[in-house]
Point group: C2
Chain length 333, copies 2
């Protein structure tokens, strides 16, 4: 990389089902220059998120990604040049910077971050995914001490934080994840039990791990895990609909889980979706709480760092296949 | 009927799928006598409810119905003889009295009702179904003036009240029902538009009737109607999971609606079930409000009265097939 060149990944075509490297194209262009009101940012770390696959499928909480655009991505970087009084060179910022070395953005599209924090924290537990765990668990899940909490996709960026926050709330926490490596990590993070969804007896294993049923289900996965968990929900239970990663990398939307809405009625359940970006102040509160727990050593923030912009497509593909433990990020060279 | 005999319907066998007359058996027995603390009630009117089919399928908010029992039913009747200081002959009471001429019940299992009110009101709009519409719409749906409300099963006991309450809340109300007769009734009750789910173009018809989307969906039906409505839900919308009558008279539970949970996340939707019996004080508040509106003439309470205990099984079978408009009840001879 030279400072004169902006390497970037173009989102080339919309996947019909599974995302592959062919959906992206590696390009170079001259480094962009900020217009008045804009800021030039050197991208330092990309957040790799299942939601990036959702952006390709259609409009969601943001417009659909269009082929030909630089691939969108939350990222953290450093201000190189500023045409705005709001930022100065050296400032650490966050925003939708995309898969590229340099991004020009309106100052209003950037958010200042603490330059003293490691990038791993800013992109992970103190980024969108950590706040998502906090808001989803506490605002939608509303766990009470002694309740039973199930977390699916528990080894992922959101799940690994949600598991620890539910323990802080005084709950018994059961984690769903695939394979012994993730199970080991989750036990170290404090999970009281781990259910391996790849073991082939999901419903029975959930029942065994949750003899008192489920009061709060923090669901990142949907699909078979959601369907298997619903019959264990206790009266008045809450399902935090955080993600549906089992369905993202597919074509047509799958049928919904059996038991919706009949079980919702019989058990007086609430299922609710949310988007952490809706409430900036709430998100700041989450970040402050998470930062304090990081600093006092009572919160772990597992990360998986992929080196090099060149590897961004493969990182996202791996993530969608469940290959990550903790927050996956791409560190630019 | 003579006063010495208690005619009754026994629930004979559990239906595998569709309920038929063969699942019930007509019997007679001597009139029961109340033990100390009990009350003998002459049953006057039976509430015919889709939930009665749910009670056969498994435990829900009440234990599963067991073959050999008198068929359970909410009903209103008159106290004939009392071994409790809480009730006296002539009192009007409500409870799970069953499909029979006389029921002996513990005084604590009965609820006093206003003897001056017509049975049609006590069983219908001032009974469980009216309160269900009130609690579901206002506590779960939380409609705000100007919002778009969709009600499915709108011609039924709960739906016909929910439509009118949503109009009172200042909303635009679209009703889903089958056939021109129900549509006519719903327009007379104030529905701004009616969608006929039997017309074969449900999704397109819903979109046309709801150009501003749906803020509150009061769903009594589930199945295809729920699946077709979800993509029209606006950001922050609420789905009131009140019933799933499309699935009750079937064998295995059908798959859930496509879009759960992905649309819940993207649109920040809440889906919640509830059971009106959970909160006696809330139910009383609903009844008081509904009674006031009945009395000032601003609330209509359509009923369909089936004469004779003998016809109770067919009334329930017809109800499950969507044959009723308004509250269906059986008036005992």
């Amino acid at each position: 990389m030279t400072d004169a060149v902006n390497r970037h990944w173009i989102y080339r075509s919309r996947p019909d089902d599974r995302l592959t490297p062919e959906h992206f194209e590696w390009c170079t262009a001259p480094r962009p220059r900020p217009a008045p009101g804009e800021v030039l940012v050197r991208v330092q770390a990309l957040s790799v998120d299942p939601s990036q696959r959702v952006w390709m499928a259609g409009p969601s909480y943001r417009p659909m990604l269009l082929p030909g655009e630089v691939m969108a991505s939350y990222a953290v970087g450093q201000v190189v040049q500023s045409q705005s009084p709001d930022f100065a060179p050296g400032d650490r910022v966050e925003g939708d910077l995309g898969w590229q070395d340099f991004a020009c953005r309106a100052a209003s599209a950037l958010r200042r971050r603490d330059a003293a924090r490691p990038l791993e924290q800013l992109v992970g537990v103190l980024g969108i995914t950590g706040a998502t765990a906090h808001v989803g668990l506490f605002d939608i899940g509303r766990p009470r001490p002694g309740e039973q909490v199930l977390v699916s996709g528990a080894a992922g960026a959101v799940g690994s934080i949600a598991v620890q926050l539910a323990k802080k709330a005084g709950c018994r926490v059961v984690a769903v994840a695939g394979g012994p490596h993730k199970a080991q990590m989750l036990r170290e993070l404090g999970a009281d039990a781990v259910v391996d969804y790849k073991a082939g007896a999901l419903r029975a294993d959930l029942k065994r791990a949750l003899p008192k049923g489920i009061d709060v289900f923090f669901d990142n996965v949907a699909g078979a895990v959601l369907e298997a968990a619903l019959p264990s929900m206790n009266i008045g239970g809450r399902v935090v609909c955080c993600g549906a990663v089992s369905a993202y990398d597919a074509g047509q939307a799958p049928p919904g889980p059996r038991g919706v809405p009949a079980l919702l009625i019989a058990r007086r359940l609430t299922m609710a979706g949310f988007v952490v970006l809706d409430d900036a102040l709430r998100r700041e509160a989450a970040e402050a709480a998470l930062a304090a727990w990081l600093d006092d050593g009572t919160l772990q923030a597992p990360v998986q760092v992929v080196p090099g912009l060149k590897n961004a497509p493969q990182a996202l593909i791996d993530l969608l296949a469940g290959g990550n433990t903790g927050k996956m990020m791409v560190r630019l060279d």
